[in-house]
């Protein structure tokens, strides 16, 4: 009566085998590696890149343990960190700037395991060190910015149609155009509603003034917000690529938040600086007519004349620039540090796209002899980087920005310009940083608490239930094996609370075996034969095990749904642990018991203490 059919035994053996295979990668440890990924979405990941990397390494006689290509890029493993760093410097110097070279850690597990998808568990930041940021996108600013763009667009559109207007201003997210005659207003309204069907137009008369106000409708607002979020994520991608981080995570969370995780990042201050900067470039004309000493002094105290803004340059003196923006960073296609041949100063070389080049050419042609200010806007602070006199018309879209303090600054600014602007500013609303040594410590602690707890339970169970205690411990061990295998298979992120959940789940999992063992004892005591006791014990205990585990599962699922970060990590392991423990306690332990007792003709005694 205590025998499993063949298929069931095969199934149990199969599950244990799968458990072993998928657990093994965790045993091999990790070796230092280099990861080469494309910095731009246009650069390709193909065998040619692999060949190129291989060739560079071979040329310099740098020994590598393995090199392969995956969906993200080329990865190469090395024997130690010295070779790894040598290889990184070498690759970075030899590959074009289209590729990012980052330090990484890769599993030492053999190729065949990787090919069947057996990978080690993915460790969370608290176990390997790194930074986690939660960034909030300022959606109001995104909408303001969009409205600001309409101000310029309306001006151009009305001028083109030769409609006279008194002024265009932005009030929050509404753009108002003032007219002196009602007929002009009607004409303008027709044109604008034709060109911008997504705007809600309203006209009103306020004394002398006739106003046409345009505001974004709900659909358009939503579109702008989604676009802002997408562009910000893209910009973050670019910026993080420049940092050279292996396996960064940049994800949208909710409607207006972005999660950024940078594993293994040591220089968190640098990372924050790069991420947090909302640097954009603006080119505006210096208002020469109003730049007399008196006005400048007034402007320094915050009273800039109408139509101008007062900003400070690097020396601290005030410069008045026109409000009208000639060009923004949006038109920049590339930027790189350089040195001016004549002065020997550090400069940033900027390349503009076709439209930007056209505008730039026109503006420089019309303003020869005047000064042009290049503004760098970072975190709401605007600074005039340089304000050179325009000597001649500049065509071709190549601009040199001088006024850099040193090469480092030129490099930093070109990085920011190249990475593109953020569509809307972002704030760090959550930050978690874990030092790498702390991460290792956490793993050790988590492992130790699991192992010692496991050992204590094993000793107790075997003393208390003898052979049946041994079966339970074996089942518990298989439970651990299966749990680790499932976690590795799913590539769920293991965190310290996750490790705690492994320990807790093991502690609770033994409950099922205790239920079974107690039941078997009880049946023995009430006079049943050993074989019948085993049978009834397992049979009766199942209902109870199911009920008690389902209730625990409900708690786990709620934790998963509403938890965030570490709690979610806990919940995943907890829920998976309940599933594996039900399987191992009921099916696996029974298979073991059947194997020991099932084939015996006459069992007179059960070793259950």
């Amino acid at each position: 009566m205590n025998r499993y059919p063949l298929w069931k035994n095969i199934f149990v053996v199969f599950m244990i085998l799968m458990g072993l295979i998928y657990t093994i990668p965790n045993m091999f440890g990790e070796s230092p590696a280099i990861q080469v990924t494309p910095a731009k979405s246009t650069s390709k990941v193909d065998p040619a890149l692999l060949a190129q990397v291989e060739q560079i390494l071979k040329q310099e006689k740098i020994a590598y343990d393995g090199i392969y290509l995956d969906a993200r890029g080329v990865k190469a493993r090395f024997a130690n960190t010295d070779t790894q760093i040598k290889a990184k410097d070498l690759l970075q110097a030899n590959l074009s700037s289209d590729y990012t070279v980052a330090l990484n850690l890769l599993s030492r597990s053999p190729e065949w395991l990787r090919s069947i998808g057996a990978r080690p568990m993915y460790l969370g930041l608290d176990l390997r060190g790194g930074v986690h940021f939660l960034l909030q996108v300022d959606m109001k600013a995104a909408l303001d910015k969009a409205a600001e763009r309409f101000v310029g667009d309306f001006r151009t559109a009305l001028r083109k149609e030769r409609i006279s207007y008194a002024g265009v201003t932005r009030e929050g997210q509404t753009v108002q155009i003032r007219f002196t005659s009602a007929s002009e207003l009607t004409k303008a309204k027709k044109i604008i509603s034709n060109q911008y069907p997504d705007l809600t137009l309203k006209d009103s008369i306020n004394g002398e003034d006739m106003l046409l106000s345009a505001s974004l409708n709900a659909i358009e607002q939503k579109r702008i917000q989604e676009f802002a979020l997408k562009q910000n994520i893209q910009t973050l991608h670019n910026r993080i690529n420049e940092l050279g981080v292996a396996e960064p995570i940049i994800q949208q969370q909710g409607a207006d938040r972005v999660v950024v995780q940078l594993p293994g990042v040591q220089d968190t201050a640098k990372a924050k600086e790069i991420l947090g900067r909302t640097a954009t470039l603006e080119i505006r004309l210096v208002d020469e007519e109003k730049s007399d000493a008196m006005t400048l002094e007034k402007a320094a105290q915050g009273q800039a004349p109408i139509g101008t803004d007062a900003f400070k340059d690097r020396e601290g003196s005030v410069i008045l620039v026109k409000k009208n923006v000639v060009l923004t960073g949006d038109y920049i296609t590339d930027a790189g540090p350089g040195v001016n041949n004549q002065t020997g100063q550090s400069v940033v070389n900027v390349t503009l796209d076709a439209r930007g080049a056209r505008v730039f050419q026109q503006v420089t042609r019309e303003n020869v002899g005047k000064r042009m200010a290049i503004l760098l806007i970072e975190k709401g602070n605007t600074e005039v980087v340089t304000a050179p006199v325009i000597n001649e018309e500049i065509g071709g879209g190549r601009v040199q920005i001088s006024g850099m303090a040193n090469t480092q600054e030129a490099t930093d600014i070109s990085l920011l310009l190249r990475a593109g602007a953020l569509a809307a500013p972002m704030d760090i609303i959550e930050e978690r940083t874990v030092g790498p040594s702390m991460g290792e410590e956490n793993i050790k602690r988590g492992m130790h608490s699991t192992l010692w707890g496991f050992a204590a339970i094993a000793v107790f169970m075997i003393i208390y239930y003898v052979a049946f205690g041994g079966f339970s411990v074996l089942a518990l061990g298989i439970n651990l094996l299966l749990l680790v295998a499932v976690l590795s298979m799913l590539q769920a992120t293991l965190t310290l609370p996750g490790l705690a959940a492994v320990a807790l789940t093991l502690g609770m999992a033994i409950d099922a075996n205790v239920l079974i063992n107690e039941r078997i004892r009880e049946e023995l005591r009430s006079g049943n034969t050993p074989q019948a006791s085993i049978h009834i014990g397992y049979d009766r205990a199942w209902d109870t095990i199911l009920d008690s585990n389902v209730t625990t599962m409900i708690a786990g699922i709620a934790l998963f749904l509403f938890g965030s970060g570490p709690v979610k990590g806990f919940a995943v392991v907890h829920v998976l642990g309940i599933l594996t423990s039900m399987f191992s306690a009921v099916v696996v332990s029974r298979a073991i018991v059947n194997w020991v007792y099932g084939s015996r003709r006459k069992t007179t005694h059960l070793s259950i203490g």
Binding site: T268, K272, S449, G507, V514, T551, L561
Partner: protein, 321 residues
């Protein structure tokens, strides 16, 4: 070896008044401390910055305090964390300063005084995120309670569901009471522990209820009290052993898990200690007072029996005999 070879049923239900009285007192005390002292919410919930640093030698807390005071952060708390070399600095949310700027300032000023200082962990949570967490945490708690009640009401009967959930809440409130009384930090991992206790503690009630249902079927002549007493006595060994082994695990976490898991393990320990009696000695009297009887369970059992042999259950081993 066997610890619990009990021949006669222990009349647990006649102690009902006593056990509930004890429970009521601890429960009221817990609520009292929760109301007067309140929970010491961690950065996760309140928002703010938490910086953990360590020194290769014993840290001079006073010097650290003066350094941080020196850069104008007067409301920082500085304390040892685990060992004398680890220091935890906590700063409330400050208007106009982002958490990252704040942490950079603090680390920078500490480095200027003693360059051996190492940053091991920084956590910054904005006030808004903290508020959301608070909401989500409460929602999770409600969802767990509702989910467990619905399941128990379906599998057993509403009286059992109510009794189990009251016993459960009793454990949770007492854990919170302890955290309020000792002003231990209540953070996200502790919340996870509390919710895990909810799931775990209800296990106990379910095991006993299961036995009560079975006993109603077998002990046709026994009174309700006898049925419950027998169920508790017969499952007592299992209850204690299970709790003992889970506690072994949690104890190991408490000893080896380090500071980060310390409060987590603490919450679980309290939950396990109180769960061991509440789920049995609180849940059963309540179920009895709510009026469980053979009649209202039996009809349910018969109904369930009909469906039982279905795929949810492990295939009947006799089929393979």
């Amino acid at each position: 070896m066997e610890f619990f070879r009990v021949k006669k049923d222990i009349p647990f239900m006649s102690y009902g008044r006593l056990t509930t009285a004890i429970s009521m007192i601890t429960f009221v005390l817990a609520i009292f401390f929760l109301a007067t002292k309140g929970l010491n919410f961690g950065v996760d919930f309140t928002g703010g910055t938490m910086i953990e640093v360590n020194y290769p030698h014993a840290a001079d807390l006073n010097k650290i305090r003066t350094t941080i005071d020196g850069i104008g952060l007067k409301d920082a708390t500085v304390q040892n964390f685990g060992t004398s070399r680890d220091v935890l600095i906590r700063l409330p949310v400050r208007a106009g300063l982002t958490g990252s700027q704040l942490s950079d300032q603090v680390i920078g000023s500490l480095k200027a005084v003693d360059s051996t200082v190492q940053m091991s962990r920084i956590e910054f949570v904005g006030p808004q995120v903290g508020d959301e967490l608070y909401e989500k945490g409460s929602l999770a708690l409600l969802l767990v309670i509702a989910g467990i009640m619905i399941y128990l009401a379906m599998r057993f009967e509403w009286r059992f569901a109510v009794a189990a959930i009251i016993a459960n809440m009793h454990d949770v409130i007492i854990i919170l009471g302890f955290f309020a009384f000792f002003q231990w930090e209540f953070n996200l991992t502790v919340l996870a522990a509390v919710l895990a206790v909810l799931g775990y503690s209800v296990n106990e009630s379910v095991v006993v209820f299961d036995r009560v249902r079975e006993n109603f079927r077998k002990m046709r002549k026994a009174s309700v009290t006898q049925v419950i007493d027998n169920a508790i006595t017969r499952t007592m060994s299992r209850t204690i052993i299970t709790h003992f082994s889970t506690q072994l695990m949690v104890l190991s976490m408490l000893l080896f898990g380090g500071e980060v898991l310390h409060n987590f393990a603490l919450a679980l320990t309290i939950g396990i200690l109180f769960g061991i009696y509440s789920s049995v000695l609180v849940a059963c009297p309540i179920a009895m007072w709510l009026g469980i009887s053979r009649a209202n369970l039996m009809s349910d059992v018969e109904k369930k029996e009909g469906e039982k042999k279905e795929p949810t259950a492990e295939p009947d081993p006799s089929e393979f005999a």
